[in-house]
Symmetry: C2
Subunit: 323 residues, 2 copies
């Protein structure tokens, strides 16, 4: 019989899970006490939090616990990187049904730990409880290493818009899975475990990025957040986006325009930034558009409003911030 979370109880589950968690030299005190203690090199701390709900942000028949651990950690560490900071640590809280297999939770811990480890970040704490709907909340911490945070509000007319990382792959993988398919593996894998260009965040900050965001709501929606916060007009050049063959083929097979995935998809956690026009773009960054004055808050593609789906919102209402 499969051992469940209920079989081992809360404290048993904690022991199973914390065994996976990596420490780093910055961790003065890790999991197991009331709180953890982290030493910060630069005297400040960057912090963000994100909640994933089963059936909404992930499905247990599409993703293993390990996949979900990678995704949950990546979603938060990408936010840290988008401030120009280096991820240092995460905390995780989970609400799990008592009949959930213990192996799923161990996989979740392993995935969180692996994503943190590859960055030199630690897992320093957490909480477990039982609940009816599997829910995972991750908080990530980061270190600016003496730099100023790169906000959403700093884009200026004349700046160029640049992207680091893959865009649209995870959204395509989601469509593939939702139609009952399991391939192409590159797209499905991109949905299950995003490959975030974490180092591109600090390197953009070093090179003078004026605004930065991680793509979690969708390319156009997140461009809209910068456009609104910076009171500028962002225009994308669609020719900057080369549709990979597997994405084009999947689009043809599924009857989807691949630019829908590229412009509206967010689950890749690519990074988007604006730079002064004379910048030498750092590695991983590619020019995709320009910032203009004029219509503050507008987002356009080749100078025109995008006619397709704009992105993800959790309560099925149109986002009034998008033009």
């Amino acid at each position: 019989m499969t051992e469940t979370v209920g079989d081992v109880g809360e404290f048993g589950m904690i022991d199973h899970v914390t065994a996976y968690f990596p420490a780093t030299p910055e961790v003065e005190l890790g999991p197991g006490d009331d709180a953890a203690v982290l030493n910060t090199a630069s005297g400040n701390v960057v912090a963000c939090t994100d909640m994933l709900v089963v059936g909404r942000h992930f499905r247990t028949d599409w993703c293993t616990g390990e996949d979900v651990g990678h995704r949950a950690a990546a979603a938060n560490f990408a936010d840290i990187a988008a401030m120009g900071a280096r991820p240092t640590a995460l905390l995780v809280a989970v609400s799990v049904p008592a009949d959930l297999p213990l192996d799923w939770v161990k996989g979740l811990a392993a995935g969180l730990a692996a994503e943190a480890s590859q960055l030199g970040a630690a897992v320093i704490g957490g909480d477990t409880t039982s609940g009816e709907q599997l829910t995972i909340s991750v908080t990530a911490l980061g270190d600016l290493q003496g730099r100023k945070p790169v906000k959403r509000s700093g884009a200026k007319p004349g700046d160029i818009v640049a992207l680091a990382g893959r865009q649209g792959w995870a959204a395509a993988g989601y469509t593939v899975l939702s139609r009952g398919f399991r391939s192409p593996g590159a797209l499905v894998g991109a949905y299950r475990r995003p490959e975030v260009p974490y180092e591109a965040g600090p390197s953009a900050a070093v090179m003078g990025a004026t605004a930065m965001i991680d793509l979690s709501d969708g390319l156009l929606a997140d461009l809209g957040h910068i456009a609104k916060a910076s009171q500028v007009w962002m225009d994308l050049d669609s020719t900057a986006f080369v549709v990979p063959d597997h994405m084009r083929n999947a689009g043809e097979a599924l009857g989807v325009n691949p630019y829908e995935w590229i412009f509206a998809g967010g689950d890749d956690h690519a990074l988007l930034a604006t730079f002064p026009p004379d910048v030498l773009l750092p590695d991983q960054w590619q020019r995709i558009g320009v910032v203009s004055a004029g219509q503050a808050g507008w987002v356009t593609v080749n100078g025109e409003p995008w006619q397709g789906n704009k992105g993800w919102e959790h309560f099925s209402k149109p986002d009034p911030t998008l033009s």
Copy 2:
């Protein structure tokens, strides 16, 4: 018609909620970007996280959103205080059903903000999503102000055991509510909005506390965590606990021995610490027992195993760590 979360959408809800959140001089960047930035006075950061699920940790017919906000913040800030640290900030993630009244969520934000404000702490970030089961995850950050963290593992034979704060009041309030009553108000109020002796944490650290914990699993259960981590035997003196009149009366009316509430109740978030035997106990701290060698991990009352309920565990299994 009552306006719901679904009516205003995710971004609308965020605007409503962040309006309540206090900033402090330590906040370099608050909510609204990918992540927040907090300046730390002492170069380290204390962090913990806690998840509350409706029907398990709170009921919307027993508590307002504002009550739940106070409780969720208090549960986390108490963990920070129990390390000997000063609370500085919190982040909150919520999963809410679309038909939840918007006013409930606004109350939650107001309660979180009020509990933080009274401590000079900020609310620096969060996440909202929709889900079937109302779930709240709070992460708190704190500052040790140059002190060493007070762990669970430092209790030594010969130390005294001391308590700061009310104990058993919230558990009694829970019993009152669960039997369908609404008074005495002092007990019900203690359940709805715990009064945590936050300052007692740092002051215990300054006075040389050897171990400290916040009471969230129950007095005996949390004593067990210290006993196990420190490999000592903790013995309580039951005569140190004076049962308040309203608790005694409620116990008689409900057929409950009030010591059940005192020894097994955790929702008051009182602080428990051990001190060297010659210490002058700081304000708010009261001696309740002694630490001995001998049976490592044992917890006793007047030298004997406690026969009643020992505390709270989330999957209804006996806790093997308790003697």
